[in-house]
């Protein structure tokens, strides 16, 4: 047996995982599928399960942080065809937690989806897996085959009247498909361009039918909540945000990796778990919630706790829990330039403010970074970002604009230096 992977002492979602014990028999040995068995054998009313999810204060782990119980509650009762979708299109730069959940503990997600389907009355589900993680897709196919063979997925599950079919859908390279309506378009066999909301997927979703889309980590929490109770989960976190959260720490730390902490833990603790800033350097900046969340100066971050409200108060977002750490040697202009390139590349082209605006941002950032910045460029950056925000169908536009505004706000001097001196202020260039 391999050694347990170290996700931290507070881990519940990732506890006891070695990297090898992902199979159904291992999951069952850890108490897996007990929650599903319990509600099916006791014929627990779906409303009662939903009440526990609501009590747990579980919030969406994909980035938006929307209360999961409330989202499930939006699903109509009397529709004959309903879907539950797992969003495993994990492409937000800096985020790599869902990959670990799926490759190390795929059955937790399968069980979570089955319970979600039971509560919302869905007969069918899909797990939309990020295109770049083919090996994880293959593992999910294997795990699903195991679950089917053991009667946890399929018709009349464990002899109950409840039937649920589940399939994996493999993406093929489009960041935008992490947005839930673009993801639905993609499953329908179209290019992934977001839909107008309303109508929301709970009313008009996959194939026009009521649909709920939840993140991998969100669904993986569900069996634990059903098994241990909503109060148990709530007590792990904050009053309006229960549970633990997996933080993906990347960048300038000694030990990049996934760490699971109770919501509300101090950022300083997370940084310590990741071995501190690499090479004993000083912390300069942190992007706390994936590349779309505003960057914060290191000093601000060191005083911040890791929960939705605290990070919002500090001026950023919890997002997907992807913490990108940058040390004192990093050039903020270069960092933002690469992110701007990303959003330009990934804009789907549907809305003019995003399609054209991300191009302008990337173009201007490129020239500032390459010593060709012009007077007024910094103001133009901010204006373009402002003009994208709130003017697009989906959140990709805002996601492209928020980093720009925050980098310029907190590190304006570096941008000014680049424009005026046509070179970088920071010695050790990224």
């Amino acid at each position: 047996m391999s050694a347990f992977l170290d996700f931290g002492p507070d881990a519940v979602l990732l506890a006891g995982l070695t990297g090898d014990n992902w199979r159904l028999k291992d999951y069952v040995a850890r108490g897996g599928y007990e929650a599903l068995k319990k509600i099916l054998s006791e014929r627990t009313a779906p409303e009662q399960v939903l009440a526990e999810i609501k009590l747990s204060a579980l919030r969406g782990r994909g980035g938006a942080g929307f209360p999961t119980g409330m989202k499930w509650g939006f699903m109509p009762h009397n529709a004959p065809e309903k879907y539950v979708i797992c969003n495993a299109d994990e492409g937000e730069p800096g985020t790599f937690k869902d990959r670990d959940i799926l490759r190390f503990n795929p059955h937790a997600v399968i069980e979570g989806m089955a319970i979600a389907a039971y509560v919302m009355g869905c007969g069918r589900g899909y797990n939309y897996i990020h295109g770049e993680i083919w090996e994880v897709y293959e593992r999910c196919e294997e795990a699903l085959a195991e679950a089917r063979a053991s009667g946890f997925i399929g018709s009349r599950i464990l002899g109950s009247p409840f039937s649920f079919e589940l399939f994996n859908h493999h993406g093929f390279g489009a960041y935008i498909c992490g947005e839930e309506t673009a993801l639905l378009e993609s499953i329908e066999g179209k290019k992934g361009q977001s839909r107008y909301k309303p109508p929301f997927p709970a009313n008009v979703g996959l194939y026009g039918k009521p649909t709920t889309v939840n993140n991998v980590e969100t669904l993986a929490c569900v069996p634990l909540i059903v098994k241990n109770g909503g109060q148990w989960f709530l007590d792990l976190g904050r009053p309006n945000a229960g549970g633990t959260k997996i933080f993906s720490v990347s960048g300038d730390v000694e030990r990049p990796g996934n760490y699971e902490l109770r919501l509300g833990a101090p950022f300083a603790k997370l940084l310590e778990m990741a071995g501190g800033v690499r090479g004993g350097r000083r912390l300069k900046a942190v992007i706390p919630g994936g590349s779309s969340s505003p960057v914060l100066p290191g000093a601000v971050m060191m005083e911040t706790c890791l929960d939705y409200d605290s990070i919002a108060k500090a001026g950023s977002m919890m997002g997907s829990g992807a913490v990108i750490v940058m040390d004192e040697t990093r050039c903020m202009v270069r960092c933002l330039q690469r992110l701007s390139e990303f959003y330009h590349e990934e804009s789907c082209g549907q809305c003019a403010p995003c399609r054209e605006g991300t191009g302008w941002l990337a173009h201007i950032m490129h020239r500032i970074e390459h010593g060709e910045g012009r007077p007024g460029d910094i103001e133009t950056l901010d204006r373009v970002a402002h003009n994208i925000m709130g003017r697009t169908v989906c959140a990709l536009g805002d996601a492209a604009a928020l980093p720009v505004r925050s980098f310029v706000k907190h590190f304006r001097d570096e941008f000014v230096y680049h424009v005026e001196h046509r070179r970088c202020q920071v010695a050790d260039h990224v």
Binding site: E90, G91, E92, P93, G94, T95, F96, D98, R99, R124, Y126, H130, G131, E132, I133, W134, E135, F167, N168, H169, H170, G171, F172, G173, A174, Y175, S186, I187, E188, G189, K190, K191, G192, Y207, S248, V249, S250, G251, D252, P256, G257, N258, I287, S291, A322, I324, V325, M326, R330, R334, C335, R338, L339, F342, E345, E346, C348, V430
Partner: protein, 170 residues
Amino acid sequence: MTMPLSVTVCQKIDQAIAKYPAGREQSAVMAALTIVQSERGWLSPESLRDVAAYLNMPPVAVYEVASFYSMYHLKPVGRYVLTLCTNLPCLLQGADKAARHLQEALNIGWSETTADGMFTLLQGECMGACQEAPVLLTNHHRMCCKMTPPQIDALLAQLRAEAAGKERDE
């Protein structure tokens, strides 16, 4: 000229179609394109028409999908497509060094193919494995982690040996 899809390809596409409700064959288009690309290396206009005919879709709808997702190739590529992530978390772990090293070792730039048709080099976006940065994918299937210059050299040597071995077998 349209080449008929092979029996194996058709079987695989049928398996993909079976994942979706009756009448929703279009949902299998991404899988079908992936399967055909795996067999033929890239997606020619003929391949797109083959997929369209098989799924009973207008060819333009198939083209729309194939041109939207970044991992489909609408032009011929090398035997091995190497996609290096250069997004911020990988950049902070030395993706720029890895990029320079790859470009020098292969003597090509981004989106180019080596003269011997062995390698195509692509700049990728976040692959969701940043703890193992810099990350590189070979033929969109195998993820190679912590790609320092020595690791890159070892990978290139291994792929060249693999290709030579296959040619000997053939």
